[in-house]
Assembly symmetry: D3
Homo-oligomer: 298 residues x 6
Amino acid sequence: MVMQKYLDKAEALIEMLPYIQRLRKKMIVVKYGGSAMMDEELKKNIIKDVVLLKLVGVKLIIVHGGGKEISRWVHKVDMESQFINGLRVTDQDTIEVVEMVLNKINKELVTLVQSLGVKAVGISGKDGGLLQVGKKLSGGKDIGYVGEIRKVDPKILYNLLEKDFLPIVCPIGIDDAFCSYNINADDTASAIAKSVSAEQLVFVTDTKGVFYDKDDPSSIIPKLHIKEAASLIDNGNVNGGMIPKLQNCIDAINHGVSRVHILDGMIPHCLLLEIFMNKGIGTAILMDDEEKVYNGND
Amino acid sequence: MVMQKYLDKAEALIEMLPYIQRLRKKMIVVKYGGSAMMDEELKKNIIKDVVLLKLVGVKLIIVHGGGKEISRWVHKVDMESQFINGLRVTDQDTIEVVEMVLNKINKELVTLVQSLGVKAVGISGKDGGLLQVGKKLSGGKDIGYVGEIRKVDPKILYNLLEKDFLPIVCPIGIDDAFCSYNINADDTASAIAKSVSAEQLVFVTDTKGVFYDKDDPSSIIPKLHIKEAASLIDNGNVNGGMIPKLQNCIDAINHGVSRVHILDGMIPHCLLLEIFMNKGIGTAILMDDEEKVYNGND
Amino acid sequence: MVMQKYLDKAEALIEMLPYIQRLRKKMIVVKYGGSAMMDEELKKNIIKDVVLLKLVGVKLIIVHGGGKEISRWVHKVDMESQFINGLRVTDQDTIEVVEMVLNKINKELVTLVQSLGVKAVGISGKDGGLLQVGKKLSGGKDIGYVGEIRKVDPKILYNLLEKDFLPIVCPIGIDDAFCSYNINADDTASAIAKSVSAEQLVFVTDTKGVFYDKDDPSSIIPKLHIKEAASLIDNGNVNGGMIPKLQNCIDAINHGVSRVHILDGMIPHCLLLEIFMNKGIGTAILMDDEEKVYNGND
Amino acid sequence: MVMQKYLDKAEALIEMLPYIQRLRKKMIVVKYGGSAMMDEELKKNIIKDVVLLKLVGVKLIIVHGGGKEISRWVHKVDMESQFINGLRVTDQDTIEVVEMVLNKINKELVTLVQSLGVKAVGISGKDGGLLQVGKKLSGGKDIGYVGEIRKVDPKILYNLLEKDFLPIVCPIGIDDAFCSYNINADDTASAIAKSVSAEQLVFVTDTKGVFYDKDDPSSIIPKLHIKEAASLIDNGNVNGGMIPKLQNCIDAINHGVSRVHILDGMIPHCLLLEIFMNKGIGTAILMDDEEKVYNGND
Amino acid sequence: MVMQKYLDKAEALIEMLPYIQRLRKKMIVVKYGGSAMMDEELKKNIIKDVVLLKLVGVKLIIVHGGGKEISRWVHKVDMESQFINGLRVTDQDTIEVVEMVLNKINKELVTLVQSLGVKAVGISGKDGGLLQVGKKLSGGKDIGYVGEIRKVDPKILYNLLEKDFLPIVCPIGIDDAFCSYNINADDTASAIAKSVSAEQLVFVTDTKGVFYDKDDPSSIIPKLHIKEAASLIDNGNVNGGMIPKLQNCIDAINHGVSRVHILDGMIPHCLLLEIFMNKGIGTAILMDDEEKVYNGND
Amino acid sequence: MVMQKYLDKAEALIEMLPYIQRLRKKMIVVKYGGSAMMDEELKKNIIKDVVLLKLVGVKLIIVHGGGKEISRWVHKVDMESQFINGLRVTDQDTIEVVEMVLNKINKELVTLVQSLGVKAVGISGKDGGLLQVGKKLSGGKDIGYVGEIRKVDPKILYNLLEKDFLPIVCPIGIDDAFCSYNINADDTASAIAKSVSAEQLVFVTDTKGVFYDKDDPSSIIPKLHIKEAASLIDNGNVNGGMIPKLQNCIDAINHGVSRVHILDGMIPHCLLLEIFMNKGIGTAILMDDEEKVYNGND
């Protein structure tokens, strides 16, 4: 009978009660990037999760990257890409394109969120002086307009959240001379999470999570204390891209964020499954004294 | 695979997006009474629905009756029940017991709601001067301390809602001489809904809804304009108990309530299914110019 | 001449100026219980005092007991009362009756206050999660649903006071399993006074106050430092019922309440005379370093 | 026994309950002038009444005159007083002295009020642009810096009342050229009462009230409709000084003030007796459709 | 002597007093576009004027266009520009570039404002659902993603102004299907000015203003009633580009804007000179009943 | 060409940007006294500066003295002036005249400010209990009603500033017995500056500033650390009147005021030139660790 279908859905809703209670009015910063931004279907899934979290009362802030779209446009305008230590050398012309692409993505996300009935406001780190940066060096070499965050002024974020807007932030900052800089999106999310003392920081990535053995895909770690995370780095158990991500996690938790999640954006509804339903699909990084109690995959 | 189960639940949640958006920050008065109060399982179901609606941002007010519990206690203290035109004759001793039983039920509901993590406050119509009444006559006969509502002072309700408490109201009022009166719970819910210009008024009852032919259970009406409702009364198509209920519906809609639902409390999660998921399990009464569009049982 | 009568009254009012100034906007918790609840005339007197204090700007909270009315109803429903160490053994059936009677008294007080023109709201310790309790033992024996206060959440009290309602509290709490418990009304008043850092805590009782010699009625003590109060207990100079009362006083003052009064509810207008006009009709308990300056009976 | 005395006082207080309830949070403008300002004892009495009204929650505004003190100082600085139609010709030198004397009295009243524990702020019609005036002519003759009120900007009064200060106003205004003007204190009180839609306007004067027969002291009128007041003026039943006073009363009531009192400042506690205890010691002017119900001298 | 120079400047400041008083807390919408955006020196001048107006308390909203920068980028990415009736045909690829360029300019203006010490926030019409549009046709022909404003939701603007941010708006809107549209910047400024009932609307343009005779540069009109403006259009006295601009002016004034200015952005400090110092460097359009009093060039 | 004149003024305004930014929303207490109060032209200049600072957002509080006007009135009413150690012996009659004159000046300043379009409110230290004093002795001798400040209650100042009024304070206070006292205006300004933690305290005086060599007018000190100021006093390098002034400066800075200025009121626009344009026309006293960087006369 058709009614049973709806009853099942009602039951599914009711099961969410404890999760809604746990996260209402809490602040969560989501870094949204990687492949999950390329696939239209995955993108819609993520945004639906975001909107649902917003509607049940979570105070969300989205930080996004630009990913492959930047390379596409650099190519489109006939510029050459140069890399040092894997980081794009970002000269005056390049930062102009980078910023344009990031703002384009920013407004697309605003539109997507609003198409689901939630008012969003897209800002860059320039707006309201949100992100103040200094120049980053890489191995002592000047890689151009790539910035490190010196100071976050979260007033504009509080302002938008207070009025029930969803802030969507793109990682562009300005230095003391008011030049534009591209900033790593992970660093941006982490810095913002620290500045607002977020309850959770979530990285939607291209990896499954953190592994005990980086070469063994079955060794994924559902819960990880920051002490263990530091050991993994020290022991060389995590590879290149994960090292700065884990350092961001440790740093965030040491500055008042309660929990950081590393999720695979390719899993549909990864945000709901991990941060809302606590199903352990990725890796959660915790303070050392927090018990790894309410475990997922149960 | 176990993960599919969670994915299904996430999808169920996502389907709720438009319903959450439609009802967030709207005011809904629920009259909760009848058999649905006697069965512990049904009671928990209803309260879970209430809590979920509260948590996704609906501004709920619960009005409850006393039902068979009143008779049980009247008997327990060795008092006789006398009825005129089907209404209990309520003398000084009886109103004392009635009020005690209603307050008992009131605090039980408060406890039940709070056990699900939502703060509730149980009040009677005396508190903050919420319900001011006059004596009701029945066919010209004095039936004692049975009241008709003269005035609602909703200040205490706004106050509690503003601070995120869930108000639970029992239908006791006072007259100008500060005597206690029992009031019909349907009338109370309707009067409160009008006084706060509620979006919806919901009657959780012992009936399936309204029927085109009161003797044909298959003729239930999912959507009913108030003009049609008036016709049903005029044509004698509705029986005794339903007449005042329908009149309350018409009255509420004529005073600014957008929609009134009559639901069968025996259907699990009737609140979610009808007012949240719009599944047409009962009868919705509408303004004459509202299209009967988003139909249930689809 | 008749005018002189009014002039005298005007002068009486004017004499109140310093007392009004001293207590305006101060928080006072009044525990109202004992024989003063049984006599209609005395009850009205007390409530008039309460209303006057409210109207001149004192932020009052009333906590009441149930007294003999509980026994009357336990008897009425044909239940047996059993006592251990002078405490009523409170089984499931008994707590149900106790709670009903306390709520009945609660709403009667609400009505009485409102008949004098002040809006009151009656709540129990369940509402808004005000009183969270654990089970009390007596001499190691289980006496049933008699509770000890573990935590007070005063949000609902602040909320009601802020909107100019007078909160009237009955001493029923809930434990972690959401079971109801009867709590000693003195303990409740003291716990609430501590949780809101009340200026004063007042016990309206059946005793004249504290005596230097419990057998000498002329030895009543108008002002008592808490150190002296502790000595009286240690030296066996106070008898049974007064010991926990004095301990409550000492405890309240050690937790930020400035002054506690023990008054005889049989004296008309005892509240006005003692806390407002400072006439020393009972015993005031003070911090050790407070001078016993503005003495009564002057 | 000494206790009876206090009990009587407590009873006197309790009798005040309905009056406190009636006037709490209501706005009352008191014009204080005449002989009642000259006698130190009477002055203290009036101010005590003012302070009591303030403390029980009345929102009071005091407007005062200068009376004989002005003449004393004009004489003291060796200036001549000239009068046209009974109005002082107020040249540049005179207005300077008038303003100084009024401000002196103003600050004395502030001090007196504060000595009784209430914070007051003394302002003139210049402060915050409260009183904007035009030049008054008398029988077509220029009598100098004597002003008529053109506009009241009550923002500063609302501001002070909101923060619980008692505003005390002296009747000095400024014209478009920012020159100082003396204004009649009755006119000032009336204009302010109209601008804030005061509940009551009270004139503390040197007369007993209004008489049916101006030559028969026993014919004092306790309650007077404005239609009757207009008749008394038309029929010549009131003498000179009373005519503009009555016109002010009629005007105030026609602009939203509910009731105006004319009282004899020589009667101790005249404010309490008339506006608080409603003892009918002067004349109350009412709207035509208001019943002369709650009568004094009862 | 060097001090004289500073004295002169102090005097210049003092002369501004009446202008500051006139415009403080008033809302002014500035449409900034044309050649004044191409020249770095002129741009800085305009922005300095904007910042000064903001700092003395004017509530400013900036709307900007894209001008030649759009064409430059369309060319840069090897796209062809097609025009119908002088309007760019804006297909899917073109709107993407247009939006990127407008956002680029938007953030440059944010940076420029912030380099002068004022916090700005750059938004497009998508953010917070500010600008909702429908498709525009030109002579019945589809010119693609070029929009007409259907609705303005100014909540985000009020929100930013309230928190002392300067909102800078780029003219991109969305339709019901959440597609992006380019909107004429003049239309956008006018629609926003109407929606917030701005005191003034200012067009910074490439023209000197409005002329009595479009072929006689000496016939510039300093003040123009909307009736006269309508005549100029009807009589063919204004040429192509000015017609929609004047219609926007008339429309804005008919919807509550007090005054509209058309200024030549090539004149340094045109904003200060015209709207602040009232020096008549362009054309001010007024309501018909407003006197053309405080004239410039005096 | 006449336009150049306006352009120059626009440039002068633009130059003010950094100064407006530095002082907006900062609190500055100005002591206004001495000869600058006697000359009508200078008075207007000072008040214009005050009004401009207010309009660009500085939170100003003015404290004024009475100067020679007091002597003039003492003489006018035929009283003798007696001095001890240079301080006027102030008996009951004298304090009455002093207070009248100070209030007269106070209201004149209120009028002057309001004639320039800013709402001001004139208060004395009595109003709202602003200034509580004790009797001052001079060399052990009683000099009458001359007071020393014991306590400042700045509530009324915050209240007026919050509502955008400009408070103007005259230095009269009251003691515990509610007697009036004259207080030194410098002391009053300093005490108020400390109580509100003002950013700056400014003394408008009759001296050019502080000199390294009191006998060498060319040795004026533009910036002075408090340690140096203390040395100047210790070494006898400053003469009589300057000693208490410098002590006030040191005291204010030690209690949280950032900077104190001593200015010559005879220099037109001294307030603008020194505190706004930082042109070093007087002496600025700084904390020891503050660099004497942004120097004037540049």
